[in-house]
Symmetry: C2
Subunit: 427 residues, 2 copies
């Protein structure tokens, strides 16, 4: 939980810095709000029941559908553009697997009510800054555009099968070309030759301008495909001018995203040190998310951080310390009657922002130090009647086995500098 | 959500400082874990259903019962004493009312695995420091002890009706003496005379030592009552020596707490400016919380912050600013092509910890400033081609209607000092 909360804290900080406001919606929605929004699979996975008031309700399976409902209800008061983030658990009644749970936390941010490409660019900047702040090592945001893919499909005469084709294409890195070809054939009757052309397009490699140039050529017969290529060009050139490193923003024509509602920019993000981990932050632009709930057109763009995947990545990279407590100092209750003195010192440390605790039971120093050891608390402070007579405290560095005796007036300062030394030596 | 998150942030900070570790448990538990733990009322309010795997599950109605289940399962690895906090939503299928919702957030902290009074004292210190940090004005933690109340009931020959009597007594401030007397009679057959004696005991007033002395005298025939009076005396005297103001820690023999599981210290906390608001932080000691799930005796002590009530209190006290965003600076997109320059400035501000955003659409300055106004963003930064030629930025203070033109090299510093001025002038 401690590293999890640290990640959430960083996400909140980055989202807030860009002016996204936190919102929360209830865990339960009317079932009719959720049904049919995520496809058949998602409907089957709903935790759904009839409540005490005979209402047919279900637990949300993502944060996007409740946001669409919320936006449709409140956009008149909120005004546009509206930028929100939402970090909260969602539930899916599926079989748990490694890194996949029935309850998991989503960290979404979205800008709705503007079609400006500036919002798409800002979305990529948020993901960029978030990953930079999370210190996950090098990363690449891979972008594509739904209308570039649709432009190709239009020229191949496959536009009416777009959603089946793109859903299959989305699985390319996981299941490989043969299986994707097969799925395209099975779900949309696409011939092997056509599938090969789609996959060849997705596999175009080269520098950003080379990929863009080839894509432009191949979709040149499609008006919306041409416009989409221009949008990608503008996103890239603006991010260049902002100062985003080329290695961190690439064009990848194989990015398709599984969800139907994307209509413009789509992106996924990969770690250089763990390329097989899959995307840890994805998103894109959608044209009319709240169309089911309101007549006002609410297009938007947003992204999501995969918290559990990121945690797994940090663990694999050894960048996730196993900590059981935030305590930095254990004050032993060496003389039972001196509890007030021990608590007074502890509260002096708190006032300096140092987490510390007094051991509750007043016997057996060995047991008290073992507690500190188990919780990996680095410093212990001990004072018996002798020390109280002399006005001193003993500070024990439990990592190095060293011991200091300091005067009462200096104890907070010395603890602070001992802790500073420790944090420097571990980085 | 913004003030709500600020309160949660402060609670996390205070809990962590005292060495409480964050934990999380799933929203759904097996129904058998939850049923019968909160009484009949609570069973009826459970959101309960059968899931895809034919499991009978329900949404948690509090954080204590899941914690007991968690502790029973994991205490062998965690070791004792174990200090945890948990801030998360809970659900109850009841009729919503002012300040009462079907979903609400609980902020609990507990120390289990020690019977030491030091943990009771620490619990009170946590509540004290939390309220101090929340800046809610003056407050009083009112403490009592279940065994003091039981000592009285023992002497009145009413010990076997303890839970019915205390449940009725708990309602004294809400429903008054006559109704409490009536309820005691209805639920436990207590005579009006006996009820009067219980209520008279609860109403004892005076200084802390006067109240304690009277209580001591009245329960003197009960061994556990005498021990409990000594515990209260020690809590008070230790807190005195720690430096807790007398006005903030009082003895109140009418504090009974509705829940059956308390066995020792019990407390509630009231705001001096809003005495009728009810308790905003309550808790106490329980002897064997996890007794239903493990043979190991896990006594503990803990408290809970009433987040929704506290928010309502802050609103009523006018200490809760209505904010729609954390943004402090809106950078107008005055020249459409200059998006990269605007974003570069915005990111320079972010690097200094200043939340800022670029308006996504590139026209109509009036509309852009209206956006800032609606979101109460205090500063706008504007630059047209003239400014870019001269290397300057215009800073507009939207609250005072003032305008500054500053050189590019100084813009971040000037924005910082303008924001500092604003935050000083509003405090």
């Amino acid at each position: 939980m401690i590293p999890r909360l640290q990640i959430i804290e960083i996400a909140r900080e980055v989202y807030s810095r860009y002016g996204f406001s936190p919102i929360d919606t209830p865990a339960l929605e009317y079932s009719e709000i959720l049904l049919g929004k995520g496809g058949e699979e998602s409907d089957k996975q709903l935790f759904r029941f009839v409540d005490q008031g005979e209402r047919d309700v279900a637990m949300r399976f993502d944060l996007t559908v409740p946001f669409a409902r919320f936006a449709a209800q409140h956009i008149g008061i909120l005004g546009t553009p509206f930028k929100r983030y939402h970090i909260a658990p969602v539930w899916r009644g599926e079989r748990p697997a490694r890194g996949r749970f029935r309850e998991f936390i989503q960290c979404d941010f979205d800008t709705i009510g503007t079609e400006s490409l500036a919002a798409d660019i800002e979305t990529l900047l948020v993901v960029h800054d978030l990953l930079e702040k999370l210190e996950v090592g090098e990363f690449t945001i891979r972008i594509n555009h739904r209308q570039v893919l649709n432009g190709l499909l239009e020229q191949l005469g496959l536009l009416q099968h777009s959603s089946a084709v793109l859903r299959a294409l989305d699985k390319l890195p996981k299941i490989g070309e043969a299986a994707v070809t097969e799925e395209m054939n099975a779900t949309a009757g696409i011939s092997a030759e056509q599938a090969t052309r789609v996959i060849a397009f997705a596999n175009i490699e080269g520098t950003r301008s080379e990929v863009l140039a080839q894509a432009q050529e191949m979709v040149s017969g499609s008006e919306s495909g041409r416009v989409a290529c221009e949008a990608l060009t503008e996103i890239i050139s603006t991010c260049d001018r902002i100062g985003i490193a080329e290695s961190r923003l690439q064009i990848d024509l194989s990015i398709a995203r599984g969800l139907d509602y994307y209509t413009g920019l789509i992106f996924e993000t990969f770690l250089a040190d763990l390329p097989d981990m899959g995307s840890i932050s994805s998103g894109g632009r959608y044209d009319n998310l709240a169309g089911l709930y309101t007549k006002q057109k609410l297009s938007g763009v947003g992204g999501s951080l995969g918290l559990d995947r990121l945690l797994a990545a940090l663990q694999e990279l050894g960048r996730c310390k196993e900590v059981q407590t935030t305590s930095q100092v254990l004050i032993a209750r060496f003389v039972e009657d001196r509890l007030a003195d021990y608590q007074r010192l502890s509260r002096q440390l708190h006032a300096q922002g140092i987490a510390s605790e007094v051991y509750p039971e007043g016997k057996n120093l060995g047991k008290q130090l073992k507690y500190a050891d188990r919780k990996k608390i680095p410093l212990a402070v001990i004072a018996g009647e002798d020390e109280f007579q002399q006005g001193t405290w003993q500070i024990k560095n439990l990592q190095r086995g060293e011991q200091l005796v300091v005067a009462e007036a200096e104890v907070v300062g010395v603890i602070q500098s001992e802790l500073n030394k420790l944090s420097t030596s571990t980085t």
